[in-house]
C-alpha cells in the first residue's frame, strides 16, 4: 500500500491536458497538489464521479479523462462499471482509490474491506484492468492506461489518510466548474 499524496504527486508528472475528475478525500489532496482548470470535483451526490467522467469522455473524445474515484463512492454506484463497459469510451481511465474507509464521512469502514474492484471491472466487461500498490506499479499502470484505448480501470491500494486541511466550499465553488467549462470550450 502507499500514501495517496505520494501517488498523486507521481500522477502530476504523468499528465498533460487530460481532464481529471476527483472526489472527496482524493479530491482534497489533488487540489493541493495540482490545482488546474481541467480538474472537475464531483460532490454532493456521492458515487457519481465515474458518471461525470463518462459524460465528459463522451462529450470530448479527443481528450483522456481520468476519474479518481473512492472505494466508498464506487460502492454506491457499482452499476457504473457496466454502463462504462457498454458505452466503451476509448478515452476514459477509471481509477478506484481503495483504502477500505468512508474516509470523508468520518473514517468508518466500508461494509467489506477486501472487495476486489479489479475483478469486478473485468467481470463488467472492461478489458484493460490494472492494479497498483506502490508508486512504481502506480506509475506503470497510469502510463499503460494513457497509452491504450479504453475504457481502462486501475485499482489503487492506498493507506488511510492522513487527511489534510480541506475546504469543500473552496473546492466546490461554482467558479471552478466555470473554469473547466471555459477550458474545454475555448
Amino acid at each position: 500500500m502507499m500514501n495517496r499524496k505520494i501517488a498523486l504527486e507521481r500522477l502530476k508528472t504523468l499528465i498533460n491536458d487530460e481532464i481529471v475528475v476527483a472526489t472527496y478525500s482524493t479530491a482534497s489532496d489533488w487540489i493541493e497538489i495540482f490545482d488546474r482548470p481541467l480538474n472537475f470535483f464531483s460532490f454532493g451526490a456521492m458515487g457519481l464521479a465515474s458518471s461525470h467522467g463518462l459524460g465528459l469522455a463522451l462529450a470530448r473524445p479527443e481528450r483522456k479523462v481520468l476519474v479518481l474515484d473512492g472505494d466508498g463512492s464506487l460502492l454506491m454506484n457499482l452499476g457504473t462499471l457496466v454502463t462504462i463497459s457498454a458505452a466503451a469510451p476509448k478515452n476514459l481511465i477509471h481509477m478506484v482509490w481503495k483504502n477500505g474507509s468512508y474516509e470523508a464521512n468520518g473514517g468508518h469502514p466500508v461494509p467489506h474491506q477486501q472487495v476486489d474492484f479489479a475483478a469486478m471491472a473485468r467481470a463488467a466487461g472492461i478489458a484493460s484492468v490494472y492494479r497498483a500498490n506502490d508508486p512504481e506499479s502506480f506509475e506503470s499502470a497510469v502510463r499503460q492506461a494513457l497509452s491504450v484505448d479504453g475504457p481502462t480501470f486501475i485499482e489503487v491500494e492506498i493507506e488511510e489518510g492522513p487527511l489534510g486541511p480541506r475546504s469543500y466550499k473552496e473546492m466546490y465553488k461554482a467558479s471552478r466548474r466555470q473554469r473547466l467549462r471555459e477550458a474545454l470550450n475555448a
Binding site: 454532493g44 457519481l48 463518462l54
Partner: protein
C-alpha cells in the same frame, strides 16, 4: 396510419394520441445528441425503441437513474446536450442527484419522465396512483419547470423548453402522461 391498430386510429381521430416520432423530432430539433435512459414500460415502445435506431441520437443505457444525471452533467460541461428518459420511479430514486445537479448546480438537466399507470385524460394530481400524484408537487418543491406531455397538442412545448433550459442553465421536466405510440 393504415397499419395502426383500430384503437390508435380512433384515438388519433379524436386528437387523443401522443405520437412518439413527433416527440423525438422535437428532441432532435433542440440539439440533443445523447439520450440517457433506464427503460420504462410507459415509453419503451413509443420512444426508446425508435431512439435506439435513430442515427442522430446516441443512446447511453445506464443501470440506475442517478447515473443519468451524472453523465448528463459531464456532457454539459463538454458542451453536449442530453435528454434523460426515465420512469417516475427512477425520478424518485435519483432525487439526491437531481437535488445536486439540477437544483444546486443549476445545470440544464432535461428530464422526460414516464408516468406509468396514469389514466388517460386524468390529470396527474387526480390519478389513483400515489406515485403518479406526487411527481408534480415534488417538481414544484424543487423549483423545476414542468410540462405535461399528454397528447400531440403538447409536443410543440418541448423544443422551446429545452432551448430555454440551456440558455438559462436550469432544469426542465416533461411528464409523459399518455403512452406514446
Amino acid at each position: 396510419m393504415g397499419n395502426q391498430p383500430d384503437e390508435v386510429q380512433e384515438a388519433r381521430a379524436q386528437g387523443r394520441v401522443l405520437t412518439g416520432s413527433r416527440v423525438i423530432d422535437a428532441i432532435k430539433r433542440s440539439g440533443v445528441s445523447h439520450v440517457l435512459s433506464v427503460p420504462d414500460l410507459h415509453t419503451a415502445k413509443g420512444l426508446l425503441t425508435p431512439i435506439r435506431s435513430d442515427p442522430a441520437l446516441t443512446l447511453i443505457r445506464t443501470c440506475k437513474e442517478d447515473e443519468t444525471f451524472g453523465i448528463a452533467a459531464g456532457l454539459n460541461y463538454g458542451n453536449k446536450r442530453a435528454l434523460i428518459l426515465i420512469q417516475y420511479t427512477g425520478f424518485l430514486y435519483a432525487m439526491n442527484a437531481i437535488r445536486a445537479m439540477a437544483c444546486e448546480h443549476k445545470l440544464p438537466m432535461c428530464m422526460m419522465i414516464g408516468l406509468l399507470g396514469k389514466e388517460p385524460d386524468v390529470a396527474p394530481q387526480d390519478s389513483a396512483k400515489f406515485g403518479v400524484r406526487i411527481i408534480e408537487p415534488i417538481l414544484d418543491i424543487l423549483g423545476i419547470k414542468r410540462f405535461l406531455i399528454d397528447d400531440d397538442s403538447c409536443v410543440d412545448a418541448i423544443s422551446p423548453a429545452i432551448e430555454h433550459a440551456y440558455s438559462a442553465s436550469e432544469p426542465v421536466a416533461f411528464l409523459i402522461g399518455r403512452k406514446p405510440v
